[in-house]
């Protein structure tokens, strides 16, 4: 498990990529839902 998270010493690069990517997608979904709610009322 610890080995998995260390990514052979490339943890910052690999998790930095995956983390930011999915944070961005989650943020877009948040804005989409908010805009959708605002326009529906």
């Amino acid at each position: 498990m610890k080995e998995f998270f260390s990514m052979g010493g490339y943890a910052w690069y690999v998790w930095g990529s995956y983390g930011v990517t999915f944070a961005c997608l989650a943020l877009e979904v948040f804005f989409l839902v908010r805009r959708s709610r605002e326009t529906k009322t």
């Binding site: 990514m7 052979g8 910052w12 690069y13 690999v14 930011v20 990517t21 877009e28 989409l32 959708s36």
Partner: protein, 231 residues
């Protein structure tokens, strides 16, 4: 198939809702599968170690960034030529998601470049043209946002989008036309893939996941745009 029936915003609206719902589910399932293959099943790369695992999101995001731009410019051009409201709305709806994938491609590429090339950024042809793509998306969005009349905003944005299309083949062929640090295509239609089968599978699954995500996001956004404009 009543194809043109759906060219009106009112008739397309419920269909877009169905497509969005289906694509959210597909995107979620494919993302889980892609992450499972990419992070747990795919073997460690002989040269790059674990750092290569960035490929699964980097390539998928980079493909989407270019593909979405072409689709956006296509709908913008149709809207400009035939004055169809929904076409222009589609272009507007795609832009933010395209910009997002362009940013992700640049960000993950940067984090991949550091361990493999020794630098986060270099002004080489592939990286620079992809950065220009990001500016084209942002310029399109800013231009449309700066014009109050939506129909005029559609036309102005369409011109920018159409002119900007020239950048897409430049990005794609940049690795052949110039001496760049960026590697050439690992996957193309004309030759067999230059990578292991599990790696390729993981990558393609992520491509389809991002594809479904982009469709879902664009459909959801176009519904909001229809509500805002046609209310």
């Amino acid at each position: 198939m009543k194809f043109f029936w759906y060219s009106s915003p009112q008739t397309f609206y419920p269909l877009a809702g169905h497509i969005a719902r289906a694509c959210w589910v597909i995107a979620a399932l494919l993302t889980l599968a892609g992450l499972y293959i990419g992070l747990l099943v795919a073997p460690t790369d002989a040269q790059q170690g674990e750092a290569y695992r960035i490929i699964f999101i980097h390539v998928a995001a980079a493909w989407m960034s270019m593909f979405l731009y072409v689709v956006m410019a296509f709908w913008a051009a149709i809207g400009l030529a035939f004055n169809t409201r929904l076409s222009s709305m589609m272009a507007t709806a795609i832009a933010p998601t395209g910009a997002l994938f362009t940013f992700i491609a640049l960000w993950t590429g940067s984090l991949w470049g550091r361990p493999t090339w020794g630098t986060y950024w270099v002004w080489d042809a592939r990286l620079t043209s992809e950065l220009i793509l990001l500016f084209l998306y942002l310029g399109f969005m800013a231009l449309q946002a700066s014009i109050d009349d939506p129909r005029r905003a559609d036309r102005a944005g369409a011109l920018l989008a159409i002119v900007g299309v020239v950048n897409v083949p430049i990005i794609y062929y940049s690795v052949q036309w110039w001496n760049t640090l960026h590697q050439g295509a690992s996957v193309s239609l004309r030759s067999s893939p230059k990578m292991a089968a599990t790696m390729l599978t993981g990558m393609l699954v992520m491509v389809f996941a991002f594809w479904a995500y982009a469709i879902a996001a664009a459909m959801m956004r176009v519904r909001s745009i229809i509500r805002e404009r046609e209310a």
